[in-house]
């Protein structure tokens, strides 16, 4: 059993606690303060800009759509003024044909733009996911120790999803919004500088109300996010531990606790949703007010003899006025949405910025490993100031069987985690065949070491593929042979579809012992020069183990092997037994020597056989 707290978190995917409005346009509270708004934005844009031609296409198409819609609105004014007012039917027919053509073109442009945008946003998020995943694979185990898999999952799905939604919605809207606003302004200015001035003076009204509402809702949304996170956390924990709740008959208490968190969330989110929901109607109201002001001013101008403004111009102007508020409103919403997704992007990039496992410059690849391992004054601590291994020094000759024994928490698993460079030692040196492992490529180091971990993992692939993890190039026959050697063949054949049976949920349909047999088969297939068995047989019943052990004995022949075990019987034949306690090597020698020494090992050994009797 590994002595450190288990490193592998069985956290399932945790849905993020972030609130999501039902529609993109819905107001959302501002997210937590971004650490580096510009930098994150630039990096996201970097991904988008990689699709240069597509983006240029989208830009041109949005430009076209926006110009068309402005022109079309202007045409509407002209139609009224120049043709209907004057009764010019042939002219009307002509201009309507033009208008029709314009709209057809606009529809085509908008479809094409959507089409390109889907490509941009989907390829961008696929690239982001690929990059994140690739990066995660390269991260050192330390990273996984400190983060729950649910958290990483949420970055992979929710955060990237929100980035892609924002890209697909915001880019075109942003382009067209700016163009529409500017274009409309120009068109309005051409119609009447005076009315345009009035319209501009009215603008701040909408900004102010939007800002006020966002300011009011922001704390509520923050609290909602926090409480949703708490609720989800509670759900995750209790449902994963439902069997314990059942066993202890604690259903009622758990439900009461749940109700409390659930109620709290209900209150907060009602506040948040209700407040933010008033934004739309309020802006609608402001739009109407602005429209009225323009009309009044327009009427005054129309009456006043000092200004010459045609009726058609006022008519067109009011139409522009209706279209003017909408993009501004949309862009205000957009800004919020961008902030939200940038917060997500920041989380994604944080992970991508984590320092990966890298090989020291000039590292050599281990080849033809003999399997001579030497440790000198090795010190290590998972947490600074809390040493797990103190000045460990030992030497293992080629082909030796080397056992590590000690009580729970003594540092047994740590030694092999350092050997495989799952963690890097703090001081001292570890060498294989005389090569300091810090200057050896990780891949070649790990390829030369085969491991059967106490806490193995099976992927949701077929049994065949799972064993093949040991050596991806192995043929089906070789896989089957390895399974036979590991004594796994019989139970595999009893599975519904034999080697083709798909495993689910980390081999949930197998017993602990069966899973370990598969792990042994995996290591057998890898044919490593150095073998590590970390409590490899702890969950295998002893009769099966006997057979598995026979297989392992053949495997161990000629190979350097490290064995960690509670059961002293399994290590009695080791060439050397290292006894560690509290991170220090207290004894070493063969079984016989250690028994004769009557030291710590002797006590351990005795306790194992006496306990049964002593009860």
């Amino acid at each position: 059993m590994s002595e450190e707290p288990k490193r592998e978190e069985r956290t399932e995917e945790r849905p993020s606690g972030r609130p999501r409005g039902p529609m993109g346009g819905m107001m959302m509270g501002k997210p937590e303060k971004l650490k580096d708004f510009k930098g994150t934005l630039r990096r996201v844009l970097g991904y988008v800009v990689a699709k240069k031609f597509l983006i240029i296409g989208v830009f041109i198409l949005s430009l076209a759509s926006a110009v068309i819609s402005i022109v079309a609105t202007r045409l509407n004014g002209t139609i009224v003024d120049d043709f209907i007012e004057t009764g010019d039917l042939p002219g009307l027919a002509r201009i309507l044909l033009i208008l029709g053509g314009v709209h057809l073109f606009s529809a085509a442009a908008s479809y094409l733009q959507n089409f390109l945008m889907i490509t941009v946003s989907q390829t961008t998020s696929a690239t982001l996911r690929r990059d994140l995943f690739t990066k995660v694979l390269k991260l050192p185990l330390k990273f996984f120790d400190t983060r729950s898999s649910g958290d990483i999952m949420s970055r992979m799905t929710n955060d990237i999803d929100s980035i892609s939604t924002t890209i697909s919605q915001s880019l075109p809207q942003f382009f067209s919004g700016i163009i529409t606003v500017l274009g409309t302004l120009v068109a309005m200015f051409l119609l009447s500088p005076m009315l345009t001035l009035v319209a501009l003076l009215l603008m701040p009204l909408m900004f102010i109300t939007t800002k006020a509402i966002v300011g009011k809702t922001q704390p509520h949304f923050k609290r909602q996010a926090k409480e949703l996170g708490q609720l989800n956390g509670y759900i995750e924990e209790r449902i994963s531990g439902q069997k314990i709740v059942t066993l202890f008959g604690r259903e009622a208490q758990v439900q009461a606790e749940f109700a409390e968190i659930n109620d709290r969330l209900t209150k907060t989110s009602t506040m948040a949703q209700a407040l933010s929901g008033t934004m739309g109607p309020l802006n609608n109201m402001i739009n109407h007010f602005n429209y009225l002001v323009i009309c009044v001013v327009g009427a005054v101008l129309f009456i006043s003899p000092n200004f010459t403004i045609s009726f058609g111009d006022i008519f067109a102007f009011t139409l522009y006025m209706r279209n003017f508020g909408r993009p501004i409103n949309e862009m205000l919403n957009l800004f919020n949405m961008i902030q939200h997704s940038l917060a997500g992007a920041e989380r994604v990039f944080d992970t991508m910025n984590e320092p990966p496992e890298t090989d020291a410059p000039g590292s050599i690849a281990l080849t033809d490993v003999r399997g001579e391992v030497d440790a000198r004054d090795v010190c290590f601590s998972y947490v600074e100031g809390n040493p797990v291994l103190k000045n460990a020094t030992f030497h293992v000759d080629q082909g030796q069987t080397f056992a590590i024994v000690g009580p729970t928490g003594a540092g047994k698993t740590t030694i092999i985690s350092l050997l495989t460079r799952f963690y890097d030692l703090d001081s001292g040196t570890l060498t294989i065949d005389g090569h300091n492992i810090l200057y050896v490529t990780r891949d070649s180091l790990r390829r030369s070491i085969g491991m059967v971990l106490q806490d193995t993992y099976l992927f949701s692939e077929s049994v065949m593929e799972n064993i093949r993890y040991g050596r991806p190039a192995a043929t089906d026959e070789e896989v089957q042979h390895a399974a036979e050697l590991a004594n796994a063949h019989n139970f595999i054949m009893q599975l519904e579809e034999g080697y083709d049976t798909i495993l689910t949920d980390n081999g949930g349909n197998l017993s602990q012992g069966q899973r370990q047999l598969l792990a042994i088969a995996r290591a057998l297939l890898a044919e490593p020069q150095i073998l590590i068995l970390d409590e490899a047989t702890s969950s295998i019943d002893t009769r099966t183990e006997l057979a598995a052990q026979k297989a392992m004995l053949t495997l161990m022949k000629g190979r350097t092997s490290f064995i960690i075990a509670h059961r002293l019987s399994t290590i009695r034949n080791a060439d050397c037994i290292l006894v560690i306690r509290d991170g220090e090597i207290v004894e070493r020698g063969t079984h016989g020597q250690l028994i004769d020494a009557r030291g710590f090992y002797y006590d351990l050994y005795e306790s194992q056989f006496k306990t049964g009797m002593a009860i």
């Binding site: 059993m1 002595e3 707290p5 288990k6 978190e9 849905p15 039902p22 509407n76 009224v80 209907i84 309507l96 208008l99 029709g100 709209h103 908008s110 889907i118 490509t119 989907q122 690929r130 694979l137 185990l141 990483i152 992979m156 759900i235 439902q242 069997k243 709740v245 066993l247 202890f248 008959g249 604690r250 259903e251 659930n262 109620d263 949703q273 209700a274 007010f289 327009g298 009427a299 129309f302 009456i303 008519f315 009580p407 729970t408 799952f422 891949d443 790990r446 491991m451 806490d455 993992y457 993890y469 040991g470 295998i540 009769r543 509670h566 306790s607 306990t611 049964g612 009797m613 009860i615």
Partner: protein
Amino acid sequence: MFKLLRFLKGLALVCAIGAPLLMVIEVLMDLQQPTLMSQIVDIGIRNGDLRYVLTTGLKMLGCALIGLIGGAGCTVLSSVAAIRMSRDMRAALFARIQTFSFRELDRFKTSSLITRLTNDVTQVQNMMMMAMRMLVRAPVTCIGGIVMAISISPRLSLILALAMPILLIAMFFIITRSFPLFRVVQNKIDRMNDVTRENLLGIRVTKAFVCEDRQRERFNASNEDLMNTVMRASRISVILWPIINIVINACIIAVFWFGGRMVIGGELEIGKIMAFISYITQILASLMMSVMFIMFFTRAKVSADRINEVFDTNTSIYDVPNAESVSGTDLEFRNVSFRYSDTAEYTLRDLNFTIPAGESVGIIGATGSGKSSLVSLIPRLYDPSEGEILLGGKDLRQLKLHDIRAHIGMVLQESILFSGKVSDIFHFGQDDLTEVEMEKAASDAQALDFIREKENGFDSAVEQRGRNFSGGQKQRLSIGRTLARNPSILILDDATSAVDLATEAKLQRAIKAREGTCTLIIIAQRISAVMGLDRVFVIDNGQLVDAGTHRELMARCEIYRSIAASQLGEEAAIHV
């Protein structure tokens, strides 16, 4: 989907009825605006009648204000309704899961139950909120728009009569084509998440065997698959927007043409054309809203189906009416056979034995021989497929579940700890636990020393899944939690696998020394853990092969002897 509407009750129901009514107000007010606006321009400005502009303008603002009240009110009410509904739904769902027996928990995966409680409930909530606004707004706007259009000019409205069917057909055609694709998308997302999660959990294997490239390929395959499916689905669905646009703009052009002729002929005022066009735009907006609503609805429907699946699942283990209390703790298995499902092979076959109160029994046997299944029948985590189990002479199925579990303490193979404080772990076992009792439980479980070593002792924090404790420590805490309940029957299902031998021995001694007569049932891999018990059961292939003391079994049971020999070695076997 509609089945879930039962959670709209009380205040939520009132709000759910009120919200659409308020929405009707907003829509009705919105419908007034184009007419009023056109009147301002048409009559007021054209005639230079400032008073008319102002009075009509104030009317317009008044309408907008009433609309604002309606709109904001609707938002508030619909939020209240949807959020309360989702609260009740979540609570009911959680309560339902609490009733599940192990059989149902095995059937739904843990992760899927969690998603149902979180994501799926949120989806339905969002959908409800939207429904209360849109389900009224879209049709009322659409119908209202049509009515207003007709009232302006029935002749011009014929244009709409032509356009609407075209739009509906286009919508139907595209929606039926793209929605099945979105369901596929959902599956692909699940698949990608699976691959990712596995890689996070199995990172040690990947690193140990240098399989990063292989994993990357696996991920890329599912990532690209997802991307292509999303693109295919989206590209089809966005065809709809330009179609709607073209049809609507065609309508506008037609209105200009026919309306223009009517204006020229003096049959229509020019401002009315403008109003008519406004109504067409509103109808367009309502159609787009409907499309969006249908999209959300289908997505929420998937979630609703998943929620209903949980509600439709009834627990297979529940109290019979007039269930009795536990009156004794002698345990008897009578002709018990068990299999996990009706089609599966039998895991346990025809078991017959009794364990009198106070006896200590070890269970030993090969991996997969049925040891865990056997003990999980005792606290009625599963019911036997055939035969009966008697506790104090009564069939377990006649006893109160809560009572059975109060009497039987079981420690599982996998130690599950909830976050909180160390003392919370012990209180989970027993609410009214005194300080002394807690320390006793901890000390018997051999956990007291390492708890005391922690900075805050029993007040120290336990992180999620107890990850700040080692495997052996977690197991001992789990045992302490169960000991705190003072069970009459204590079952340890390989619960000390991560505890070293010396500690394990101390633990067993402490348990045996506890007051009262406690039946002890221990499943173990190590023979040393069971050889000191009153009797050892040897299980092989779901059957009870032999039962007796260590000495007896050594003398007569071949299987037992071989296990002993493999673990203790020849000398130890002789030594005994």
